[in-house]
């Protein structure tokens, strides 16, 4: 079942004419006849959870928005999709810009935002043009600007280009950057719902979340809530990449099993070049890596499904997270140590430098991993790495510290033997990979 990408294949859907002909902007028509509170209620009923990574219920977030008299409120859409392995928002904005704009108009109306912002990643250089064109088209047809469709509601959408910093995907850093300052995360509280952009109440949502508001309004919150499993409602865009036969962006139902998603003919069609599955990061680079045995089945032996609850079953000991939906698959030829090292390098490079555990710790972890990868490590280095990540996690201002610590922790937790092999076979490890790890062995749980 497709809710977002239903019309993605239609010729010219990127432009207003085709989009409108295929039922576009019906959600705005419907929404403008309702009151903002009713709209928030619909979203609450739908059980929609934020698609940016944390999975916080969107309706709840919207209802937390402070509404002081005489202070404007803002909707900011986080299109700073920089998580390695995640590219679903790019697809959405590139091919269905009007769906996104429509969601923004509805959401702005629900939140009472007369000026809404899209903060878009600097590397997506061509997408602001697409969005701006779509905004101009919507404006020409009376869906944006003053007095939208005679409802008395004014709304403008501004596209703001970022300058290419991962940290600006963190909502408070994004707000700082949008204000024109250095993109350093703010210390919470106060939360953006109370004091956000220019100290005004602000809601920051992911692109996919905003787009998902359109089907919610079209079909009604309750109907939307029936799709999916448990507290994972609706559908999710997954950006599958890595050693897959058919990587790409897929819209998945939440009752799809992980095995079906990787090996199913309709989906990724298995591992490329007839190799075996070794490990997978199911939700973007920040979430813990899982070895194949724990990916397909939970520790209790149940089938794992592609939804928020099932993927996080077992906590971080034996589970992971759905995160932002960046599904990275590693085949038997991939080296986990090298892979972890390149992630650590990424976080070292992207740390904002504000708080000490993250600023110093990410670089330290990278250097130790580099040492191990190039055959100069010692056994004590593995324990040291564990100790460093433990002291970064939870002690930083923003989640980047956690995001840097989790992949290292999970790699050591599940693939400690591979790290040890790198240390005991320094020369061999330069020539070949550890290969298919003993990943099916009973887990050695590192406390």
């Amino acid at each position: 079942m497709k809710l977002l990408l239903e019309n993605a294949h239609i010729e010219g859907i990127r432009y207003y004419e085709a989009y409108r002909k295929n039922g576009g902007y019906r959600a705005v028509e419907k929404a403008l006849k309702m009151t903002p509170d009713e709209l928030v209620e619909e979203v609450k009923k739908s059980g929609l959870r934020g698609r940016g990574g944390a999975g916080f219920p969107t309706g709840m977030k919207w209802s937390f928005l402070a509404k002081p008299e005489g202070v404007p409120r803002h909707l900011v859409v986080n299109a700073d999709e920089s998580e390695p392995g995640t590219f679903k928002d790019r697809y959405l904005m590139e091919f269905l810009p009007h769906l996104f704009i429509e969601g923004m108009i509805v959401s702005s109306f629900a939140l009472g935002s007369n000026a809404s912002y899209v903060y878009i990643r600097g590397e997506y250089a061509w997408i602001p043009d697409i969005l701006e064109q779509a905004i101009a088209e919507a404006k020409a047809n009376g869906w944006l600007g003053k007095n939208i469709q005679g409802s008395g509601f004014d709304c403008e959408i501004y596209v703001h280009r970022g300058a290419g910093a991962y940290i600006c995907g963190e909502e408070t850093a994004l707000i700082e950057s949008l204000e024109g300052k250095r993109g350093n995360p703010r210390i919470k509280p106060p939360f953006p719902a109370i004091q956000g952009v220019w100290m005004r109440p602000t809601v920051v949502n992911n692109v996919e979340t905003i787009a998902a508001v359109v089907p919610i309004i079209n079909m009604g919150g309750e109907e939307y809530g029936k799709i999916g499993v448990g507290r994972s409602t609706g559908t999710k865009l997954m950006s599958a990449c890595g050693n897959l036969k058919r990587p790409g962006v897929y819209e998945i139902p939440f009752d799809l099993s992980v095995e079906e998603f990787i090996f199913g003919d309709e989906w990724c069609q298995g591992i490329a070049n007839g190799k075996k599955l070794k490990a997978c990061i199911p939700g973007g680079s920040s979430v813990p890596i899982l070895p194949a045995n724990l990916l397909l089945k939970t520790a209790k032996g149940e089938t794992r499904y592609m939804n928020y609850e099932s993927l996080s079953d077992g906590g971080f000991q034996t589970g992971s997270m759905l995160g932002s939906g960046g599904f990275i698959v590693l085949d038997e030829d991939q080296c986990v140590v090298r892979h972890t090292m390149s992630l650590a390098r990424f976080y070292k490079h992207e740390s904002c430098g504000q708080c000490s555990p993250c600023r110093e710790g990410t670089g330290w972890m990278y250097r130790i991993l580099k040492k191990i990868e190039y055959g100069q490590g010692t056994m004590a280095d593995i324990d040291l790495l564990w100790d460093i990540q433990r002291r970064i996690e939870g002690n930083t201002i923003c989640p980047l510290g956690d995001a840097a610590a989790w992949p290292v922790a999970a790699a050591i937790r599940h693939f400690r033997d591979e790290f040890e092999w790198h240390i005991t076979h320094p020369e061999e490890s330069q020539a070949r990979n550890y290969g298919l790890a003993h990943y099916a062995d009973p887990l050695e749980v590192v406390a």
């Binding site: 210390i187 904002c352 430098g353 504000q354 600023r359 330290w364 433990r390 002690n395």
Partner: protein, 366 residues
């Protein structure tokens, strides 16, 4: 209903006004309960939350919502709630996290204390003594920068900087225009001016006082004297600058004034002056007036008896002959960080030098 609310920190209950931060409440209790701070500065709005040394565990959120907070929180930026219970040094998690943060802060900090002007009054030294552990676990090169002259009076040693952002807030809040800030990000983040500007505002000298380490140094004082050889003396003058309180601390040796700084309180922050405002001083008082004739001397500064500076015996109450145990002098039981004989065979206590005939040889000490 009274405005005061009750908060319990390390099993000590105290009443504070609503809106106080946990850190300020802990400072009211004082002693070891007060978390160490490297970036928080009570007179600078917006400071704090960055260094993470003041992390505490909130074991009970408030009377209404007794759930504990899931993570350690930065006490300088978390307000107290009625009935809140906080663990600082009584929590193992906190002690461990502080140890971690200290290690992170020292990771790229050069060990040049012997030539650093801040030695003796350095917050990082205190932090390292209190919360650090001996030995280092890193073996990688530290990040290095060249010392940089920023303005006629201030030299920046970026190597020593721990990125507390205090000087940035100072420049923003005390001066009309801020000319220095943070460049780059992550490990490479550094304080600098864009590009090679000079900091010349009347109050910019205060960045030296707020710097917790020796990153910002007074060019009129560099390498002239170790701080523990100088005697702090309170003095004042009628400063013509309307924003300057004119109340300073002179650091003297004999009749010579080596350094002028603002007066500081027990937390190392600029003390409140007689006009009720924080006692920031202007550049003229700080850098130009280096003669005793410029000042009206009030008398020796009231420095904590436990400070290393008061060991110079300039304060008369130390003159009286009295036998004090080390614990009484430093105000707490000394901590044995390392027994030298664990690592060295030299100078075993049972072997006295007078027993050695002729010039001592290394073999004599085995």
């Amino acid at each position: 209903m009274s405005d005061n609310i009750k908060v319990t920190i390390d099993n000590i209950t105290i009443e504070v006004p609503a809106g106080t931060s946990i850190l300020e409440a802990a400072r009211k209790i004082g002693g070891a309960v007060a978390p160490p701070t490297m970036c928080y500065y009570s007179h600078l709005k917006g400071s704090g939350g960055k260094c993470r040394t003041c992390l505490v565990e909130v074991s009970k959120g408030s009377e209404k919502d007794p759930r504990p907070m899931p993570k350690l929180v930065a006490s300088c930026r978390t307000g107290v709630m009625d009935g809140m219970e906080v663990k600082s040094i009584t929590s193992e998690k906190v002690v461990d996290a502080r140890k971690g943060v200290t290690e992170f802060l020292l990771l790229n900090h050069p060990l040049d204390c012997p030539v650093c002007d801040q030695a003796g009054e350095c917050h990082l030294q205190d932090l390292g003594y209190e919360h650090g552990k001996e030995g280092t676990r890193t073996e990688f090169e530290r990040r290095t920068f060249e010392p940089e002259d920023i303005g006629p009076y201030i030299q920046l040693h970026m190597n020593r900087c721990i990125m507390c952002f205090r000087c940035v807030f100072t420049a923003e809040q005390l001066t009309d225009y801020r000319e220095h800030g943070i460049l780059d990000r992550g490990e490479h983040a550094r304080i600098s001016t864009c590009i090679s500007k000079s900091l010349e505002h009347d109050f910019i000298g205060n960045v030296i006082d707020v710097c917790p380490v020796g990153a910002l140094t007074d060019k009129t004082f560099r390498f002239k004297q170790r701080v523990w050889f100088t005697k702090p003396v309170d003095a004042h003058r009628n400063c013509t600058n309307p924003n300057c309180c004119g109340e300073v601390r002179l650091w003297m040796r004999g009749d010579e004034v080596f350094r002028v700084t603002a007066r500081k309180d027990e937390w190392g922050e600029v003390a409140i002056a007689s006009n009720g405002k924080p006692g920031w001083i202007c550049n003229e008082c700080r850098f130009e007036k280096k003669k005793t004739s410029d000042w009206v001397i009030e008398g020796p500064s009231n420095i904590s008896r436990h400070s290393v500076i008061s060991q110079g015996h300039y304060n008369k109450n130390v003159h009286e002959p009295q036998v004090e145990l080390l614990a009484e002098v430093i105000g707490k039981q000394p901590v044995m960080k390392m027994d030298i004989y664990d690592v060295s065979e030299v100078n075993k206590p049972e072997r006295h030098l007078s027993q050695i005939e002729g010039p001592a040889h290394s073999e004599d000490f085995k």
